[in-house]
Each structure stands twice: as structure tokens, then as C-alpha cells.
């Protein structure tokens, strides 16, 4: 538009319309953007019924709302519709028969309008002077504002009624099945934790078990989403970890400072292994103390002299000292030793009983920690299964229910867990987990798998020929047999003995192998 007086006047008259149209445009943008956002969220929500993807609606809503408000404010602040558009809108709504639009167009095209063009511009200025911006460009809700509202209502309805729904047979359906299975597994874990806590008087285990069971029951409920399930399982893991840390702190406080957990030579230095080793040694110490206490309670000292009693108590004290047992325990044993040396068996028995109680308290804490650790690892495995099901679409492998934790139990073999690994992570499969070949958990790779105790059955009778008649034939060709040249007969005793001796060795002695080969070579040369 040129800079003539008519142009400036027309621009001034149309400015209110332009501003109001900008606001209306921003409102329309807001409605459309809200509709698009709500459509996207609704589509996402519907997709979660088929594909197990997280849908954090409550976390996303504030961001979406903030983006919409910011976009609207920016649009209202900086967007201005072209003057020609505003003039045309005013023409249509005020019934001006394209007067303003034509004037704006003429002023944009010609520097000095003349003739009918000038007449038209004057006519348009007169019409614009009587223009009512409120009537021409009313600010009201956009016509399509119902769409985002309807979509938001649909989204809310879905959130209340359909969240967590999964179509059976789809990955989301399999995911839901996995969550339910892991929920059942968590209930079992909680139940076992509760039973262990009651049986062994483990306070933290008893306190935490209901939370695990509750989480499991929540996962068993219908319409539990992936993110919700993960959140609940992680919360349970966090609670178990906190309880375990609490018990661990108590144990550390109870143990002698500076000695507890000090790795010894050739000892596993991971925390779990250290705890297990410590528990074993404390258990041994407890048994020794119980023996001594029993002997002292009998009054006669179990046939032990005072010196012998004092010597064993001294050894016990030194052992406890090396073990880093709680100071109370060690002090009690020392008191018992001194009393025994002084011939006061009753006082010695009483002091040893107190020390034994302290030690049993420590053992309970260790048991508490171990039970909590076991439960945490199982819950963590459930979380991993749910996460894996989400990544892999809930495959059949991930649908295996969580069983009792086998890795947490100390295996009877001589393969300790790999030192230096994170104790919270489940160990990889290895000799301690089943019959598979070890893949790194054992310190001695390829070592024989530890056997359970039992009597070994001989698979072969030694020194005896086979019972019954023997019929020997030689195969001379495909489908053709011939009578054997040598009649089967039991080997001579010296040969049988030699065979037995060779077969009992592993590997077979090379001489024996050579002997057998030579025998068959000699047979092969026969016609």
C-alpha cells in the first residue's frame, strides 16, 4: 500500500479489525492445535491397547497445555493478518460489496489513483468510517472449538474407563498377561518373605512383606498399564533396597568397627559373598558357643577340665575377634573365659549365654538382610521380565513366572560368584544356576559341576564277563555276516584287571588305546 493520505486513513480505520482478527485467528489456532494434540494423545492411548508402549498422560498434559498457551500468546502477539484479508472480511460481514478490499487493492497497485479508482477509494473510506469492529470481527469461541473439547472428553473417558485395556492376542495383550503373571509372582515373593520373617523373627522382612504382596495384587488387577506396573515394581524394589540398607547399616554398627567386612586373603570381596562368608563363620562360632554353653550348663563341663574350657573359650574369643564380631559378644566371651579360668562355671555359663543371645541377634539381622536381598532380586527380575516383555512384545519366554531365587542361595560347589560384580544385578547363568556350562560366574572355568550328595552307582561291573550265552558274528560286508573267527570268551584275569585299571583312569592311558587299536588292526587284516 502506498503512503498517501487515503492509504494511511484506510489503514487506521482497519487496524481495530486487524487486531481483533488476529485474536480470533489465535483462538482458532488454539482450537486446532488443541484438537491436533488431543487427537494425537487419543491415538496414542488407543495404540497402547495394541502395542505395549508407555503413555504418561499426567506427565505430558502440563507440557502440552503449556505449549498450547505459549503458542496462542505468541500468535496473538505477533501474528497480524494482511490488511487486504481484513478488508475483505469486513466487506463480507458488513455487506460492503468488496468496497474496502478493492480500495486496499487499488492503493497497493497505484501510487496516485485517479478517476473511478479515486472515487472508489473515497467511497471505501466513507464506508470504513462507519465500520463497527466489534460487529465485523467479533471475538468468540471458534466454530470448531467443540472438536478439541470432544476429544478431551474422549481422552478423559479413556483415562477413567479404558486405561490399561489390552486387546487379547496383541503384544499389549501379551504384555498384560506378563504383568499379571509377575503380579502373582510378587504375591508369592511377599508371602515367602512373610513366612521367612515369621519363622526366623526377621523384623524388616515382616515389615516389608505386605508392601510386596500389595504391589503383586495391584499388578494382578485388570487394566494395569506398562508404565504403572513398572512404577509399582520399582517402588517395591526401592522399598526393599531401603530396608536392606537399613539392616546393613545396623549390622555394620553392631560389628566391630574397622574389622567387619575386611576382605581376607583368598576371600571373595563382593559384598554378598562377604556377607555369606561372614554368616557362615558366625554360624560356626554360634555352634561352638552353643556347644560350650551346653557343656557349661551341664555343670561338669562336659568332661572338660577348666584349662581345656578356658583354652576353647580363648580360641573362640580370638576367632570372634578375627571375625569382627560385635563388641558385646566378644566381651561376653571374654567374661566367660575369665570366669572359667577362675573356676566359676556358673558365671561363665551366664556370660556365654548373654554373648550367645547377642550373636543370635546379629545372625537374625544377617538373615533379615539376606531375605530382603533375595526378595529384592526376585522383584527386580520381575521388573526385568516386564521390561523385556515391553521391548519384545511379551514373548513366551518372558511369560515364564518368577520362581524362587536360586542364584541367591549359596551353591554347594566351590565356585563363588565372580568378584567385583554389582551385587544388585542378577548373575549370568552358570554352574550355580543349573546344568549349563559356566559362563563366568565360577572362578575356575570348566570345573566339574558340583554334585549333590549321594552314593555313586557303578555303571559297569568290574572284572566280570557278561552273563549268559554269547553269539558272535562278524560283518564282512553290507548285509552280509559270517561266523566269527574267534569264539567269544571271557578275558584272562590279568587282562580284565588291566582293562579295569585303564578304564578307571581319565583320560585313558595312551598305552591302552594303542593296545586296543592294534587288536582291531590285527582283526581287520583277516580274510
Amino acid at each position: 500500500m502506498n503512503e498517501s493520505a487515503e492509504a494511511r486513513e484506510l489503514q487506521r480505520l482497519l487496524q481495530p479489525v486487524v487486531r481483533r482478527l488476529a485474536l480470533a485467528g489465535a483462538a482458532r489456532w488454539l482450537a486446532r492445535a488443541a484438537a491436533a494434540a488431543a487427537s494425537g494423545l487419543l491415538a496414542w492411548a488407543l495404540v497402547t491397547a495394541v502395542v505395549p508402549v508407555p503413555f504418561p498422560l499426567t506427565r505430558m498434559l502440563p507440557w502440552v497445555a503449556a505449549a498450547l498457551v505459549a503458542g496462542s500468546v505468541a500468535a496473538a502477539r505477533w501474528y497480524r493478518p494482511p490488511l487486504l484479508t481484513a478488508a475483505r472480511v469486513a466487506d463480507r460481514r458488513a455487506g460492503l460489496a468488496d468496497r474496502l478490499g478493492t480500495a486496499v487493492d487499488l492503493l497497493a497497485r497505484t501510487e496516485r489513483p485517479a478517476g473511478l479508482a479515486r472515487l472508489q477509494i473515497h467511497d471505501a473510506l466513507s464506508a470504513a468510517a462507519g465500520l463497527e469492529p466489534r460487529a465485523v470481527a467479533p471475538i468468540r469461541a471458534p466454530r470448531d472449538a467443540w472438536l478439541p473439547l470432544a476429544l478431551c472428553l474422549a481422552l478423559c473417558a479413556w483415562w477413567w474407563l479404558g486405561a490399561g485395556l489390552a486387546v487379547p492376542g496383541t503384544p499389549a495383550g501379551r504384555m498384560a498377561a506378563t504383568i499379571h503373571r509377575e503380579g502373582r509372582a510378587l504375591v508369592d515373593v511377599g508371602r515367602r518373605l512373610d513366612e521367612t520373617g515369621r519363622a526366623e523373627h526377621l523384623p524388616e522382612a515382616l515389615r516389608t512383606a505386605p508392601a510386596v504382596q500389595d504391589a503383586g495384587r495391584r499388578l494382578e488387577a485388570p487394566r494395569v498399564g506398562w508404565d504403572d506396573a513398572m512404577g509399582q515394581v520399582r517402588e517395591v524394589v526401592r522399598q526393599l533396597q531401603a530396608a536392606q540398607d537399613n539392616v546393613r547399616r545396623q549390622i555394620d554398627e553392631a560389628m566391630a568397627p574397622g574389622r567387619a567386612g575386611r576382605p581376607g586373603a583368598g576371600k571373595p570381596d563382593s559384598a554378598a559373598a562377604r556377607r555369606a562368608d561372614q554368616a557362615q563363620r558366625l554360624d560356626a562360632a554360634r555352634l561352638a558357643m552353643e556347644d560350650l554353653a551346653g557343656a557349661l550348663r551341664q555343670g561338669t563341663g562336659g568332661g572338660m577340665s577348666a584349662d581345656e574350657l578356658a583354652r576353647r573359650l580363648r580360641a573362640l574369643s580370638e576367632s570372634l575377634d578375627q571375625l569382627g564380631a560385635p563388641p558385646g559378644v566378644r566381651a561376653g566371651v571374654d567374661r566367660a573365659r575369665r570366669a572359667a579360668e577362675g573356676g566359676q562355671r556358673g558365671a561363665s555359663s551366664a556370660a556365654l549365654g548373654e554373648a550367645l543371645q547377642d550373636l543370635q541377634g546379629l545372625e537374625r539381622m544377617l538373615g533379615d538382610e539376606q531375605a530382603l536381598g533375595d526378595a529384592r532380586r526376585q522383584v527386580q527380575r520381575s521388573a526385568d521380565r516386564i521390561a523385556h516383555a515391553a521391548r519384545g512384545g511379551g514373548s513366551a519366554q518372558s511369560a515364564q513366572p518368577a520362581g524362587p531365587d536360586t542364584t541367591s542361595q549359596a551353591a554347594s560347589g566351590s565356585n563363588p560368584p565372580t568378584p567385583g560384580t554389582d551385587e544388585t544385578a542378577p548373575p549370568p547363568p552358570g554352574p550355580n544356576q543349573g546344568s549349563l556350562a559356566g559362563r563366568g560366574t565360577g572362578g575356575n572355568l570348566g570345573a566339574p559341576t558340583p554334585r549333590l550328595g549321594g552314593t555313586r552307582t557303578q555303571s559297569r561291573l568290574q572284572g566280570l564277563p557278561g552273563p549268559g550265552s554269547t553269539h558272535v558274528r562278524e560283518i564282512v560286508g553290507p548285509g552280509r555276516a559270517a561266523p566269527a573267527q574267534h569264539v567269544a570268551a571271557p578275558p584272562p584275569p590279568d587282562v580284565a584287571h588291566e582293562i579295569d585299571r585303564a578304564l578307571s583312569q581319565d583320560p585313558l592311558p595312551p598305552g591302552y588305546v594303542t593296545l586296543v587299536r592294534r587288536y582291531f588292526d590285527s582283526r581287520g587284516g583277516a580274510p
Binding site: 493478518p81 487493492d105 487499488l106 479508482a117 472515487l119
Partner: protein, 343 residues
């Protein structure tokens, strides 16, 4: 705000007012004689001031000839009526060279002008003549000149052809070819009068003969006003509206309507666009505006375009008429060109 409210010192405003007054006078004179047909009269006068020709279609006895005759009286222009018949020859319209003998006894050829050399020509029942004779009008209508015997002879301005045709008696007729139809600014349908109009016709035509139309404008003034009408400005968005409207009647482009795609063989020609704009300018001035508005184009779309749209076989078979195609195109164009404000 009318143009009459503009300062009278402005010559353009005075001319615009003069245009509007003259338009109204001519329109009034026609109304004094013709009963009813108000829209038809508006459009005929619009075509006259736009310098275009009109094809009137209607059954006999509806006052078509009377309309043209009255118009000639009001304009003080030479009037000729040609009754088209199958044996009418081009020379009967254009004129021919005759051998004449002068006073000295010498014989020479002299051109004898035909009835086309009038200023208002009534081509009555134009579809009864053969295509050859119909084509004799092509040059006259488009170029306002006649070429005979190797010589081109200009026609007197203003030159205005009003042709009539009967839509019922089609036997023995020759439908106008597209090239001929395209040269008419408007094709107007003369509707049968309503009851009141019939009664008024009876009163006027069976009693004492009343005075005819008065002469309200002469040819020179009409030519000046025709030239003035061409100066009416058209905004670019209005031009785009007209172009899109014409394009929407074509089956080819993506902007075509569904009706056009299905039933139209050829859409309106560029002459249709010209007719829209020219007639729109006249209508704007007649309504006191110095610019063409989209509403002018909407009002003139059917008479300007209906005879330029050629339906295909399916359209003919299903009884689709050009009016429906144009109405669809108007709706389509309206939606396409509506101003939108989107942030």
C-alpha cells in the same frame, strides 16, 4: 453511500451519476412498455451498456420483438429486424453488390447494405437459418464490421444484436454453433408471464394504443457511457474470483467441481470471463458503485456463462442443465476464495 453523494465538482463522479441516471431512464422506458420481466430488462440494458449482444430464448408471443423495438425507440438508434428462415442467404443480411446504371449510362457495381448495417438488429428466430447464414453474423458481432467482395465495411456504433430463438419448435432448425453462441454476451430466457402480468398485458394491448417509449439517450452518449464503464476498476481478488469461476466450469483442472467433471464436455471460454467482467462493471455503476464486486459476478454468472458450457452425453442424458453446473461452480469458487484468517 452512493456516488451521488460524491462532490459534484468531480467530473468522474458526475459521469458516474450520469451513467446511473441514463441506465435508469432506459430501464424505465422499457418498463413502461414491457409488462413484467424485470430481471430480463435489467440484463438487456446491462448488455447494451456493456456493448454486448443478447440471445433471447422463449416461446413466441412473450414480447421479445416488442422489447427490441422499444429499446430502439428509447435509444434513438437505427433498428432492423431480420426474420431468419431456412432460405435466408448471407447476402440477405450483409448486403450485396448490385449493377447500377448512372445518369451517363455507365454500369457499375454498387454495394447495397443489408439489414445488418443498422445499430440495433433483431435477429428473429435465428436458429431457423442455415449455419452458413448464421455465420454471416460472426464478423459483424465480434468485429463490428462486414467483409463483402473483398472489402471490409465498418458498422455504425453502437452496434447491438438481439437474437431470439424458440426452444420448443426444434424441427427444421439449426442449433447455433458454439462459436456463434460464444459471441453473445448473455443468453436470456424469457419466462412466461404470471397471472397479474398477463392481466396487465391484456389491458395494455387491447385498449387504446398508448404512447411508445421516449428517446432518452442517443448513440453518441451511449458510446461515451460504454467507454466510461470500461474504466471501472476491478480488484485483483475479484478478478481471481471470476477466473476461478470460469475454470470451475471446466472438467479438466483439479479445481473443477464434481458436476463439471461428470457432465461437462467443454467449459466456459475466455469470452465468458470477459463477459462477466464487462457486465459486472456496468452493473456496479448502475448500482452506484465505482468498483466491481463479487456479488456482481454472482448475479451475472448464469446469463453470461450458460450458453458457453457444452454438456457431455451423460449430462444430456441425465437432463443436467448448464445452470446447475454454474451454481455448483459458484459454490465451489465461493469456498475457494473466501478470506481466511489463520494464525
Amino acid at each position: 453511500m452512493s456516488l451521488a453523494d460524491r462532490p459534484t465538482s468531480d467530473l468522474t463522479a458526475q459521469t458516474a451519476d450520469e451513467f446511473r441516471r441514463t441506465f435508469g431512464l432506459v430501464r424505465g422506458e422499457l418498463s413502461r412498455v414491457i409488462v413484467g420481466h424485470q430481471e430480463l430488462l435489467d440484463l438487456v440494458v446491462t448488455a447494451l451498456f456493456a456493448g454486448g449482444h443478447v440471445l433471447l430464448e422463449g416461446v413466441p408471443g412473450l414480447g421479445k420483438t416488442l422489447l427490441v423495438r422499444t429499446l430502439a425507440q428509447a435509444l434513438d438508434l437505427r433498428f432492423a429486424r431480420i426474420q431468419f428462415t431456412p432460405d435466408l442467404m448471407p447476402a440477405d443480411i450483409l448486403g450485396t453488390n448490385l449493377v447500377v446504371q448512372d445518369d451517363a449510362g455507365r454500369r457499375r457495381f454498387e454495394f447495397q447494405p443489408g439489414p445488418i448495417f443498422a445499430q440495433i438488429v433483431l435477429a428473429d428466430e435465428i436458429n431457423r437459418a442455415t449455419p452458413k447464414t448464421q455465420s454471416a453474423l460472426l464478423e459483424a458481432m465480434q468485429e463490428h464490421s462486414v467483409s463483402t467482395a473483398g472489402e471490409s465495411r465498418p458498422l455504425d456504433e453502437p452496434f447491438f444484436v438481439l437474437a431470439t430463438q424458440n426452444p420448443i419448435e426444434m424441427e427444421g432448425t439449426y442449433p447455433l454453433p458454439e462459436a456463434q453462441l460464444d459471441r453473445f454476451l448473455f443468453k436470456l430466457r424469457v419466462a412466461f408471464p404470471a397471472l397479474d402480468e398477463l392481466r396487465e398485458i391484456a389491458v395494455r394491448t387491447t385498449g387504446p394504443e398508448g404512447p411508445g417509449a421516449r428517446r432518452v439517450v442517443d448513440g453518441a452518449a451511449l458510446r461515451g457511457l460504454q467507454a466510461f464503464a470500461r474504466e471501472v476498476p476491478v480488484a485483483s481478488h475479484v478478478l481471481e474470483y471470476a477466473a476461478r469461476l470460469v475454470l470451475a466450469t471446466h472438467p479438466g483442472p483439479e479445481s473443477a467441481t464434481e458436476t463439471a467433471r461428470r457432465f461437462v464436455r467443454y467449459g466456459a471460454s475466455p469470452r465468458g470471463l470477459q463477459a462477466l467482467i464487462r457486465a459486472g462493471k456496468v452493473r456496479a455503476l448502475a448500482q452506484g458503485r465505482a468498483h466491481v464486486a463479487a456479488e456482481d459476478l454472482r448475479a451475472l454468472a448464469v446469463p453470461s456463462l450458460r450458453h458457453r458450457i457444452l454438456l457431455n452425453f451423460e449430462g444430456e442424458a441425465q437432463g443436467i442443465d448448464a445452470e446447475r453446473v454454474i451454481e455448483d461452480a459458484l459454490r465451489h469458487t465461493e469456498a475457494q476464495t473466501a478470506p481466511t484468517v489463520t494464525a
